[in-house]
Structures are given as C-alpha cells and as structure tokens.
C-alpha cells in the first residue's frame, strides 16, 4: 500500500534500485548554499536526506532546507530527531512539512547534544526513534495525534524511514532492533556508513533470517572518505563506525586520496548491491556533495528513473507553470520588438563602425600632414644650414679673392676683371680674358650642375647666385694657379690659410689682405717674413681656438705669437680677450676650489661633467644625512663647475632650507628609504630594520650616510640618539586604552625589586637593574635604569665571524685596543665586553699573563665600563682574571664568568676589590639561585652580581631562555625571592653569530645575509630585554642601534 507516494517510495515499491543522497544544511541562513548543493545532487539521487542539526550542531532547519531543495527539484527526506523537540513540536513540524509537500521522513533519536556546539543545552528526548516512528505512523494511518485526539483532516502522509547501525553493539541485537523499527512503522531503512562489508553481510543475513528484507527497503550507507585524515578520524572518534584497516591502507597508498575515496565508495556500492535484501544505496558525501555525481556515474547508477510523485507546494508547480506560461506569452509579444531593436542596434553599430573608420582615416591624414610639416621643417633647417655653410664658403672664397686681388696688385698678371673695391662681390665673365675652350666647357658644365643643384635644394635665386659665384671664384683660382706657375706658391698658401681658418675669424680685412699680400710676395720672402707668417698662422689658430671657446689653447697660441712678435697688436688683443674669457669661465671655480688633476684620456668637458655629477651626488648624500654644511659645500662646488645645473641649484636650495643640525629620523632616511621612514605600527622593529639595512645593501650613497651617522652622534656627545629609525610608540597609554576599566583590574604592582648593579668608574659608569616592575611595564612601576648594550671585543682576530659582521671591524680586528676604541667612538658602545678567547686551553692557550696585559690595555684605552670575559675554562679563568684584577686594581671592571667551579677563588678576589661579577649558570632557575646563594655565603654582595643564565639565540632555544628568565624575574618581583633579585647579563652576540643562519650567503630563499644576521641579533636582544635582560652584549653595530631604538621606544 502506498504510504505517501513520494518519488523514493515509488522507486522502491517498483523494485528499482534506489539512490539517496545527503544534503547538510549550512550553519547560516544562506539560501544559495542549499540551492547549490541541491543542484549538484539533482538527477543523481532519487531523494536527498536533509539532516536535522547533525551531530547536534545548530544549522538551518531540516524543513526549511528541504523546501529549498524541493524548489530546485530535489526530493527531500526530512530528518527528524527527538533531541530538540518534544512530542508537541515534532507533531507540529510534521504537519507543516506535510502541508508543504514533504513526503519522506527519517525518524531518529538524534546525536547527543554533548557532541555539538551547545553541550550545555537540555536534551529533550521526550521519546526515542522507535516511539517517534510509532507516533507518526499513528498520525498517518490512524489519523490520531499521539495523545489519541483525532486529526480531522489532512493527516500527514509520509513515507517513514529509520536508521540502522549494523556495526554497533550488541551485534546480535541489531537486526532485532531493526525489526522493532519496522514494526513501529519504518518503511525504509538507511544504514550507517559501511566500510566493513563482511560484517554488513552477516548483518543482512540476520535481517533476512528475520524476514525483514521483505518488509522494509534497506538502503546501504556509503561515504567516500575524502582523505586519509577523515578515514582515521572516523575510525577513532566516531562511535559505531567500523573503518577497516584495508580502507586506511588503500588511502595511504593512494596518490590522489580524493580519487581513491571515490573508488572506495564505488567498490562498496558494487559489493553491497549483490547482498540480498539491499534495495538501494544511501550516498553520504559529507560536505563533499560534488563527489556524489561521480560516484553514482561510476557505479552505473546515473540513469535515475523519472521523478514521480514529486509535488513541491511552496512556490508550487501550478504557479510556476502559470508564471512560465505568462513569461512565454510575454516573450512572444516582446520577440518582434526585440528583433526590431536588435536590427536597430546592428544598424547603429554599422554606422558607428563606419564613423570610426572615417575618424581613424582622418587622424591618419592628420598624422601624415603633421609628418609632412615636420619633414618640411627639417628640410628647411637643413637647407638653412646648407645656405649658411655656403655663405661661409663664399666669404672664404672672397677672402681668397682678396688675396688674388692683392697678388694682382703686386704686379702679377691674373685675369680677373676689376670690380667694386669695397664690395666682396665681383662679376665673373666666362667669355672674357684668356679662358681656354676647355675651361669654358668645364665652367658651363659646372653652371649646369649648379643649376640642377639649385633645383634639388630648392634654393632661391640669391642663394644660387652666391653659390655660383663661389664656384666660379674657386674655378678661377684653380685654373689661374695652373696657368701662372710663377705664383704657384700663392694659391697654395692661400688655400692653406683658408683651410685652417674658419671664415668668420678673418674679419679684419685690410690687415688680412695686407698680411696675405705680404706673405704671397715672393720677392720679399725672408726670415722675417717667415716669422711673420708664423705669427699670422698662430693668430689664426688662436682665433679658431677662441671660437671653439678653448680659451686656454687660444691664450697659449696667442702667447706663442707674442713670443715671436711681442708688438703684434692682434695677438696682444687676442691674448687679452682669451684671458678675459678664461677669467669669466674659470673665476668661480678658481675662487672656491680646483678640480683634481685630470687624467689624460679624459677631455676637460667630460672631466668637469664627471665632477659635477659627483658633487651633486655628494650634496644629496650629505643632505640625506642631515649634514647641512657638507651639502651646501658640495652643491656650491657643483655650481662652480656649472652654475646652471638644475639639480645642483635645487639641492643647494634644499640644503640651505634645512635646519642646521636637525637630524630627524624621517629626514635622515628620506632620500634613500622614503617609504619605510615612517615605520608602520604593527611591525615597528622590522620596519626600522628594513629602513636601516636596506640602504646599506642597495644604495651606496645612503650607506655612506648611515655610516657617517655614528660619528655625528658622538661628536654631539648625545648618549644615544634613537638614530636612524624610530620605534613606534603606542599612541595611547594603557590607561586610555583600558577605557572605563578601573586601573586596579589590570595593574599588578610588584612587591620586590631588582638590585641596581654598577660597573665601571666615573661618569661613564653604567648602572643596570633597579626596576620594581616587569620589563617595560612602566604603567605598573618604574624601571630606574634602561637596559644597556655592550659591544663585544675579542682579543684575537675571530675566525668564524661572517664577513657581514667582520667587515664593520675590518680595520681594527686583531688590535683589541683600537677595536674597543672604535666600538666606543664609532658605534657608541655603552660598555665593552672584552672576550679573552685566546686564553682557552683548548684553543690558542695563550698565557694568562699576556692575555691579562692586553685586557689591561683595553681597560685603560676606553672610558666606558669593561666586562672582562674569560675563556670559559674555570681554572684558566681563575688564573687569568686574578692576574688581570691584579693589573687593573680598584678599577670597577666586571669579571666574568663565575661558575660553580671557580666562584670561590674569583668571588674572593671580587669581594676584596669590590668589583662586580657575572654569575654564570646553565639555563635553570635553581642553578642560578644556588650560585647566587653560594656567592652571597662567600661574602659577595648580591648588589654586585649580574646573572648570566645562558642564552639561546632565536631559533636556538630562545624560548627556553626566555621562560627561565621570566620565571626568575617573576620570583624576584612577585615572590620577593631576594636571591634572584639581581640583573641579567645576556651575552647574546656570540650566540647569534655562531648560528649557521648568519653564515649562509645571501639567497633568494633566505634573503640578504647581513640583514638576516642583524635581524637575528636584534630580535634575540629584544626578546631577552622583554624577559628582563638588562645588560646585553652584542656585536653588529646595526643590531645595536636597532636594540637601542627598541629600548627608547619602550621607555
């Protein structure tokens, strides 16, 4: 008998193999998620289970999601649990579901709320799943509510299902429980996920023995494991789920676990299909609905029977059909309109295209015209040049002509007609004189050639006339030369003169012609004449040089001319001019500076340009370094070379506008690293580092600016300027940020305090400790002294330092005294740690006496405090440090390290001299405390002890160090553990710079080597300071400055 007539029921009653899926509603009100999932499943399943807050996690209700699935054409199997509703709610919901067309109901007890996201909730469990089945069946078949009251109309028609778990215990009871469900009203059953097919077979045998396979449709539950992790989770954490080792192995061996998961599901489907009593499969791809179509396809089940009995009520079919019909009609009405509009659009498009073509054609035309104009302009320019060249040549020719005239005047016969004496023009008469026939022919052809040239060049009549005359003159000269051997020397000389002299220079016509006339008079050729000639030549050369603005050469040449004839007016005048010219050019340069000697292979122009660029660059560097005077000087020099250089002018302006001595971090770095100058708050240290390290690696000038910096700092004698980077402070104080929260809720004042310890003498002495709060908790107490930084100086050249570190000390390595001085003067070390590694008996094993002498020299050479750090061998250190303290006497050097092996001997020495000591222990709270107690028992005051609890660099146990230091500090501050109330000294430089990360070269993966090292050291230092470290021994100057910025930022 048909119960509800759902699609699923129809398929199962028809004996077809059913496929159901599962649709998990979202943990939100997202309508589209459900639709998406439904669309994936559509066509591949006969119905889809809509879970009811599965695993007791709040999700969109089963009924709602089921309705959405229906609107997408997927038949829902609404799941109903007893966990969240009592009988009143369940029945109400069932009525509603039925009213809206839901026809399948899966009755479950429900997962216990303990497993969900509201374990505090009250589980209802008014009934269990079997009683639920019975209740709904009663509603359907007896038309009675659970209480017995009659349902007068429209009782819920539902195809009832239940779940069965063949893998739960007791196994032999499971089929019986299924039988109870069947007798309570279940028409179909979906089983728990099957991986253990053998066990399922046994279960089914028992089910068949009970005859249940004929009373209920059993759908075998199948889930593709999405991953090995999911399979393992199900195996270990889901009670009642039997995931076999075989499945785990299959997934382990798979290249593509998802693919294998699908294969597993398909294999299981194929196996369970063969089992008697299995009427279908229930494919539960948990949060992996996409797998369902693939599984169904591969299992050969993708041809689903046509849907029957599927009748969504909400957004019901009739209305949809009506709407579709209406839409169709409407579209029929609109179609012609649309076509018309389409045509219009097409036409408009065509017009637009045409118009576009036309426009592009026009623009091409414009381009062409523009080009023509440009070409014309160019050719005009060329022609102008040509004309001026021709003019020049013409005037040259005229001067030659003058010469010829002079020759003529001096009695030589030449066939040139007389002409206007004051004009350079003369008329050439081809027919006159003794011109030979051959000459005539040549001249004619020349004329013809010129004519065509004129056409080609587009010359006007005047221009042409000029050229023609020039050519003729040239011709006359050459033929004249040929015809009168007597004057053969003259044209040659003249020609020579013409060649070597630019035309314009010869502007003193009378003198010139006179000179030429003199020169060309062979009868008066004498020594004097030759000298004279030389003078003229030199003057000419000089003029040429003047013209080229090579005043120096000009001056020289004039001077040589004067050497020959001191009375030569022209030479005198020329020399004077040249001097003046030189004066104007060289004055500023000479007055302020002189360029360095110029190498021969470089021309003066190139040389001065080079220096111009160099000075501008220097100026910019100085500008960026905030050094006003240097910037001004450099720009002035640049301007001396070229007063018009824009960059130099602008630079000078900037430099002069700059406030003298104002070295703000921003302006400091503005040129090289503008973007990072203002460090973003979230990563202040990092940004500071970036701005710090970048310029050094990338841009040389900026680097020099950076390096110049420490010098500037010491010269101003500022103790520590935050330097080149800032550590962004919190804009608001903690109290402000806490808002209305009363301060006593978050402020925890400490009852203890750290003893202040002073090392060194005089005004450079350093005191650390003295705080009565956790590090930098300035809102809770005071840090009397900021953490201090000492630089490490080794007594031998270190062998294992990477170049990125060693290069900062390259000039002093091997000379401990200079090294220490450099550390103090250039790198602003507040203290020096003198590491006497060479004393190590396992290393160089230098005698204690020698090492101590060097240490003494270092102590004497610097005025900052010195920590003398032994080699780590207890015996040798005792000897060494005793020797040393003997030399330094009452000077408050700090001796280190005192360990439990040598504290007695050294402790006594320290006590006698009243010098501070470093108590070094392995990383351990108790060992540190014990050594302090031992030292105190010996008589060493706690206020002269610094604790070295051993340091691990970042990545090398920093966290261990941190927690030990933190625990010590908490004990000291909050538990008044006096024996631990001493400052920490952190010898971190040596730890950081021995890590392999600092030594691996720059690479794309690891980044810049030096920057890496700096960051490691700075981060280690910062972390240790946060743990309570007070005296940090570091190595890299950049890291030191970062650490200082960090301190300043937090203090």
């Amino acid at each position: 008998m048909i119960k509800a007539g759902s699609n699923l029921e129809n398929i199962l009653t028809n004996g077809q193999f059913a496929v159901t899926g599962e649709l998990g509603p979202p943990k939100s009100g997202n309508y589209d998620v459900v639709r998406e999932k439904a669309r994936i499943l559509k066509g591949y399943v006969d119905a889809a289970n809509i879970t009811d807050c599965q695993t007791a996690i709040v999700r969109m209700s089963s009924l709602t999601a089921g309705l959405i699935a229906m609107s997408e054409g997927v038949e829902p199997v609404m799941q109903m649990t007893c966990r969240d509703r009592n009988r009143i709610a369940i029945q109400a919901e069932v009525l509603g579901a039925s009213a809206l067309g839901i026809k399948n109901l899966l009755c479950l007890t429900g997962d216990h709320q303990k497993f969900g996201n509201h374990p505090q909730s009250k589980g209802v469990f008014d009934m269990d799943s079997i009683q639920l089945l019975g209740m709904i069946r009663q509603m359907r078949d007896e038309k009675r509510f659970q209480c017995g009251e009659e349902i007068k109309e429209a009782e819920p028609r539902l195809f009832l299902g239940a779940a069965a778990n063949p893998f739960a215990d007791p196994f032999e009871y499971r089929p019986k429980r299924l039988a109870k469900k069947v007798s309570a009203g279940a028409s179909f059953v979906q089983t728990q996920i099957i991986y253990n097919v053998e066990k399922f077979k046994k279960f089914m045998e028992m089910v068949c023995d009970l005859g249940l396979h004929e009373k209920v449709y059993i759908l075998a539950g199948v889930t593709p494991p999405k991953s090995l992790g999911m399979a393992r989770y199900m195996k270990n954490n889901v009670p009642g789920l039997d995931v076999t080792d075989d499945i785990i192995k299959r997934l382990q061996g798979a290249k593509d676990q998802k693919e294998e998961g699908i294969n597993i599901a398909v294999d299981i489907i194929n196996q369970v299909r063969e089992i008697k009593g299995v009427h279908g499969v229930h494919v539960m791809a948990i949060e992996w609905e996409q797998a369902v179509p693939e599984i169904v396809k591969r299992a050969g089940l993708d041809k689903r029977p046509e849907m029957k009995g599927f009748e969504p009520r909400l957004g019901a079919r009739a209305e949809i059909e009506d709407a579709v019909k209406k839409a169709e009609q409407e579209s029929g009405r609109l179609a012609p309109e649309i076509d018309r509009l389409k045509n219009e659009v097409t036409a408009a498009n065509a017009i637009a295209v045409k118009e576009q073509d036309r426009v592009s054609g026009l623009s091409a035309e414009v381009e062409r015209l523009k080009k023509e104009v440009r070409d014309t302009q160019l050719s005009m320019e060329q022609k102008e040049k040509e004309v001026s060249r021709l003019r020049a040549e013409l005037s040259q020719a005229m001067s030659e002509l003058e010469a010829v005239k002079a020759q003529a005047a001096s009695g030589q016969s030449i066939f040139v007609q007389e002409q206007d004496a004051c004009e350079t023009d003369f008329i050439f008469d081809p027919s006159g004189g003794d011109m030979t026939a051959r000459d005539q022919v040549i001249l004619n052809s020349l004329t013809l050639g010129l004519e065509s040239l004129r056409k080609a060049l587009g010359l006007n009549e005047d221009q042409f006339e000029a050229i023609k005359r020039f050519m003729e003159a040239q011709f006359v000269i050459s033929t004249g030369g040929r015809q009168s051997p007597a004057v053969s020397a003259a044209p040659v000389t003249t020609a020579k003169a013409v060649e070597s002299k630019p035309v314009r220079v010869i502007d003193t016509k009378p003198a010139q012609s006179e000179v030429v006339a003199d020169v060309v008079a062979p009868s008066i050729q004498s020594q004097e004449d030759l000298l004279r000639k030389e003078v003229v030549n030199l003057i000419a050369k000089a003029n040429v040089a003047m013209h080229k603005k090579d005043y120096e050469t000009a001056l020289k040449t004039f001077e040589s001319a004067l050497a020959i004839d001191a009375s030569d007016v022209k030479a005198q005048e020329g020399a004077k001019k040249a001097r003046n010219a030189m004066g104007t050019v060289a004055q500023p340069a000479v007055s302020s500076f002189a360029l360095p000697a110029r190498p021969d292979e470089i021309t003066p122009e190139q040389w001065s340009f080079k220096w111009l660029v160099r000075y501008v660059a220097q100026g910019n560097v100085a500008l960026s370094a905030g050094d006003k005077s240097r910037a001004v000087e450099a720009f002035r020099k640049a301007l001396a070379i070229d007063s018009k250089d824009e960059k130099a002018v602008a630079g000078l302006k900037n430099a002069e506008a700059m406030q003298e001595g104002a070295i703000s971090p921003k302006s400091e770095m503005s040129v090289a690293i503008q973007p990072e100058a203002v460090a973003p708050k979230s990563e202040p240290v990092l940004a500071a580092v970036r701005s710090e390290v970048q310029p050094e690696v990338k841009a040389k000038p900026a680097m020099s600016a950076v390096e110049a910096k420490p010098v500037a700092v010491t010269s101003v004698a500022a103790p520590v300027s935050a330097g080149d980077f800032e550590f962004a402070r919190e804009a608001k104080s903690l109290t402000e940020r806490a808002g209305a929260m009363p301060a006593n809720l978050f402020i925890e004042r400490c009852s203890g305090s750290i003893k202040p310890v002073t090392i060194g003498d005089g005004d450079k002495a350093v005191t650390v400790g003295g705080m009565n709060t956790l590090p930098f908790h300035l809102f809770e107490g005071e840090m009397a002294n900021a953490p201090r930084i000492a630089l490490d100086v080794l007594d031998v050249a270190p062998e294992d330092w990477p170049d990125s570190l060693a290069r900062h000390y390259s000039d002093v390595i091997g000379d401990p005294v200079k090294w220490a001085q450099k550390s103090v003067n250039e790198y602003s070390a507040e203290a020096i740690c003198f590491s006497m590694v060479s004393a190590d008996p396992n290393g160089l094993n230098r005698p204690a006496k020698d090492v101590a002498a060097v240490a003494k020299a270092v102590v004497d050479a610097v005025d900052v405090p010195v920590i003398v750090w032994g080699c780590g061998n207890a015996e040798k250190d005792t000897e060494l440090l005793r020797e040393l303290t003997g030399l330094t006497g009452n000077k408050k050097v700090c001796i280190a390290p005192l360990t439990d092996a040598n504290y007695r001997g050294l402790g006594a020495t320290a006590m006698a001299l009243q010098i501070p000591v470093v108590a070094a222990t392995p990383i351990d709270v108790n060992l540190a405390k014990q050594l302090n107690i031992l030292l105190e028992n010996l008589g060493v005051s706690l206020s002269s002890i610094l604790m070295d609890t051993s340091i691990g660099a970042v990545g090398y146990g920093l966290e261990y160090t941190y927690s030990v230091m933190e625990r010590i500090r908490l004990a000291a501050l909050t538990q008044q553990d006096e024996k631990l109330s001493v400052p920490f000294i952190c010898n971190l430089g040596r730890e950081v710079w021995k890590t392999k990360e600092t030594k691996q070269p720059s690479s794309e993966l690891l980044g810049d080597q030096e920057r890496r090292g700096i960051m490691m050291e700075a981060v280690t230092a910062a972390s240790l300071m946060l743990a309570g470290g007070e005296l940090m021994i570091m190595r890299h100057p950049q890291a030191v400055r970062l650490a200082k910025a960090f301190i300043q930022g937090l203090m």
């Binding site: 216990h112 008014d126 109870k180 009642g240």
Partner: protein, 222 residues
C-alpha cells in the same frame, strides 16, 4: 539515597557577605551517609568559613548544629529557638532540608550549603553513581532492574542506540551502556524476548513535568 556535594567555599562565602552570626546546620540523614553534610562535615565547613572570613577581614562568627533529619517537622522544631541571634542558617541537608526550613521556620534566613546531585548508590568509598531518576513510573521490571531513564544518556526506551560500542556509552566511555547491560541481563535471565517489545512513549507527568509532585496516604494522615 540522596547524594549531594558541598558547594564551593567561595560561593558560600559570597552568600553570607555582610552577615555576622551564622549557624551551620547539618543533617544526619542521607547527606551524612554520603559524607557531605553530617556532623563532621558541618564542623569542617564552619572552620573553613571562619578562615575565609578572617582572610576577608570580616568579623563573622559561626555556630554549628546538626539535626537528626531536616526533612521531618519534629526534628526541625528546635531550629526556631536555635536560630535565634543568627543572621542566617546554612543548611547542609539536601535541597529538601533547605526547602523545609524555609517552609517551616519563619524569620529564619536559610542558605544551601550543598548541591543536591542525584539519587545514587555508594559504589566504593568516595564514589557514588546515579541509579534512579525518580521519574515516577518505574519500568525496571522490564529492563532487568537496570534503569534506562536514569542511566542512558538519551533516556532511550527501546534498546541501545547506534553509538553503543563495546558495552560503553558514546557520551563517556567510562560509563557502561545501560542498554547493552539490559540486553545481557535479560538474555541471562532468559527474558530476551522483552527486548522485542516496544515500550510506549513515556508519560512524563510522574517525573515532575506534570507539576510538583505530592503523595498522600489517607490511612496515615493524622
């Protein structure tokens, strides 16, 4: 037996803040047996409260008394006199005792010293387990004497759920699956057929969902 456990000290101290004289009142009934509210426990509680008061800097004083039972009027009668001069009475009886004092002793401010937890049995020293839910309609004859209402996390009536594995409950593997035990027990008793019977939906009215319960025996009424 009613099982109860003492409330956290801080909670009790919170209740009596601002008071000066407090009577700690024990009960020699169930709570004495389950070591949470008898003579010994009230003495301990009073001492702890004294210390707590000193620590908080308040000047409280604590009196200690124990009644035979707090749930019988004849035993409770002396309290009216006893409580005089006290700002409050902390009762270490089960909730019944507290309610009864509140009902019967006007003018006495009564405060609970215990959380009443369940009806249970003493498995071994220091261990108690819930055995009954007091649902008012006992089905133990159907389940081999083992209560699915009190001892199944979901209160199932018709056999173990799908989370029963290896005889353990899915909620807490330390807890036995009572339905598995019922199955075994009935099988042992030769009553396995009972497991095929469907237990009808329970009437929860007797379990208190029908309102506060009361029982009257006419023949015993005074």
């Amino acid at each position: 037996m009613i099982i109860a456990e003492r409330k956290p000290l801080s909670e009790i101290l919170g209740m009596i803040q601002g008071m000066h004289r407090i009577l700690v009142l024990g009960c020699r009934g169930c709570v004495a047996v389950c070591s949470s509210g008898g003579d010994k426990e009230v003495a301990v509680l009073a001492s702890a409260l004294r210390l707590g008061a000193v620590k908080a800097g308040s000047d409280m004083s604590f009196g200690v008394q124990t009644l035979v039972r707090q749930c019988d009027p004849e035993y409770l009668a002396p309290l009216a006199e006893m409580a005089k001069g006290y700002d409050a009475v902390i009762s270490t009886a089960c909730g019944v005792g507290v309610n009864f004092i509140a009902d019967r002793c006007p003018g006495v401010r009564v405060l609970p010293g215990l959380n009443t937890t369940f009806y249970g049995a003493n498995l071994s020293s220091g261990e108690w387990r819930e055995m009954c839910a007091g649902c008012g309609s006992c089905v133990l004859h159907l389940t081999g004497g083992l209560c699915p209402v009190a001892r199944c996390a979901k209160g199932l009536s018709n056999g173990p759920c799908g989370g029963s594995v290896g005889g353990r409950c899915e909620i807490n593997p330390e807890t036995a699956c009572v339905w598995h035990r019922i199955h075994d027990k009935l099988t042992d008793l030769g009553e396995a057929d009972r497991l095929m019977d469907i237990m009808p939906i329970k009437d929860w009215r007797t379990a208190g969902h029908g309102g506060p319960r009361k029982r009257i025996r006419e023949e015993l009424l005074p």
